[in-house]
């Protein structure tokens, strides 16, 4: 919405649906374990060139860039409770993964719709916050389907998390999840923390999205563990981190997006 506003594109409403397509994670190659099929619904009297701009903006917003363009620069640090720290060097070496493996995701959908009434304007009528979105998540296991609702967005009151920190929350959880699944013993005191080393702002992000600019975002990922530095545990953690699905997307070029993007253009009801 912010890109449309700044570009004077008459976008009245927007909704997006992602179908999650599970993929087997390979041990010799890196894939994040899923691809997505994206469907975008736009409402407004929008030209073909404006559609192209909005389509590009969706993949170049901060979260889109992180997931599909490998824009994240990640510095990992192991922090032991006795005060010792280890900086993990960035590496291209992919250790061969022994059992256990990460389980296959179930398929499902993520559907986002814009809450138009949450846009905020200043006294001069300029939009200062793009507002919030409601997101429905459906997860379809072989036993049953599950459904949840979330909200995220930009507002002055901060009732909901902004999208990029929301995505980082998922990544931190993914890291914990991956370490728990791939390391056969319990890691005492495990906690994953993230802090941004260079923070962007809304205007810059929207400018990048509109222009198709990939802007690297540097993040410090701290992995806290109880005890004293243990080389075996350190190496097991380093190996497991290479297979974290979202880290793979962030570092190695992203989640595959099926080219079957359908845009439904609706003229507003006058």
């Amino acid at each position: 919405m912010g890109v449309a506003y700044r570009g004077n594109i008459p976008l009245e409403d927007i909704a997006v649906a992602f179908h999650i397509n599970p993929m087997e994670s390979a041990t010799e190659s890196l894939n994040p374990g899923f691809s997505v099929t994206e469907t975008v619904t736009l409402t407004g009297d929008i030209s073909e060139s404006e559609i192209v701009r909005l389509q590009r903006a969706a993949h170049f917003c901060p979260v889109g860039q992180a997931l599909t363009k490998g824009s994240m620069v990640i510095q990992d640090v192991l922090m032991w409770s006795n005060g010792e720290t280890e900086v993990i060097p960035i590496t291209t070496d992919i250790p061969k993964l022994a059992e256990p493996r990460l389980p296959l995701l179930a398929s499902g959908t993520v559907h986002g719709s814009y809450l138009k009434n949450t846009k905020e304007y200043d006294d001069a009528g300029n939009m200062i916050h793009e507002g919030e979105s409601k997101v429905y998540v459906q997860y379809d296991t072989s036993a049953r389907s599950y459904r949840w609702t979330y909200q995220a967005g930009h507002s002055s009151e901060g009732w909901v998390p902004p999208p990029f920190p929301f995505s980082l929350g998922a990544w931190a959880a993914s890291t914990v999840s991956t370490l728990n699944k791939l390391i056969s013993y319990k890691i005492s005191g495990l906690q994953v923390e993230l802090s941004a080393l260079n923070r962007g702002n809304s205007g810059q992000s929207q400018g990048d999205a509109a222009s198709g600019i990939v802007r690297n975002r540097q993040v410090l990922r701290k992995i806290r563990i109880d005890g004293a530095l243990n080389p075996t545990i350190s190496q097991d953690i380093r190996n497991a981190l290479q297979y974290d699905p979202i880290s793979i997307a962030y570092k190695h070029g992203g989640i595959p997006v099926d080219n079957n993007i359908v845009i439904e253009l609706k003229k507003p009801d006058n």
Binding site: Y146, L194, N216
Partner: protein, 70 residues
């Protein structure tokens, strides 16, 4: 491959804005905005991915896409 400037020291003491820890064997809690004294923090529970066992929350991959949808 993204790179960092290794000449610059890393300040590991800088406060973290996102914290995640396991709740039990199958769930993880993330707190977003722990370093913001005016907004949040916002908690999110996620399931460690299981394709055939009962879940109480979506896996992290789904919420990363949810953030993109938002």
């Amino acid at each position: 491959m993204n790179t960092l400037n290794y000449e610059e020291p890393i300040n590991v003491e800088q406060p973290s804005n996102i914290i995640a820890r396991p709740i039990d064997k199958s769930t993880v809690l993330s707190l977003i905005g722990t370093n913001d004294d005016q907004k949040g923090p916002w908690p999110m529970v996620m399931n460690i991915s299981h394709s055939d066992k009962p879940v109480v929350a979506p896996p992290p991959e789904y919420l990363s896409v949810a953030a993109w949808a938002a």
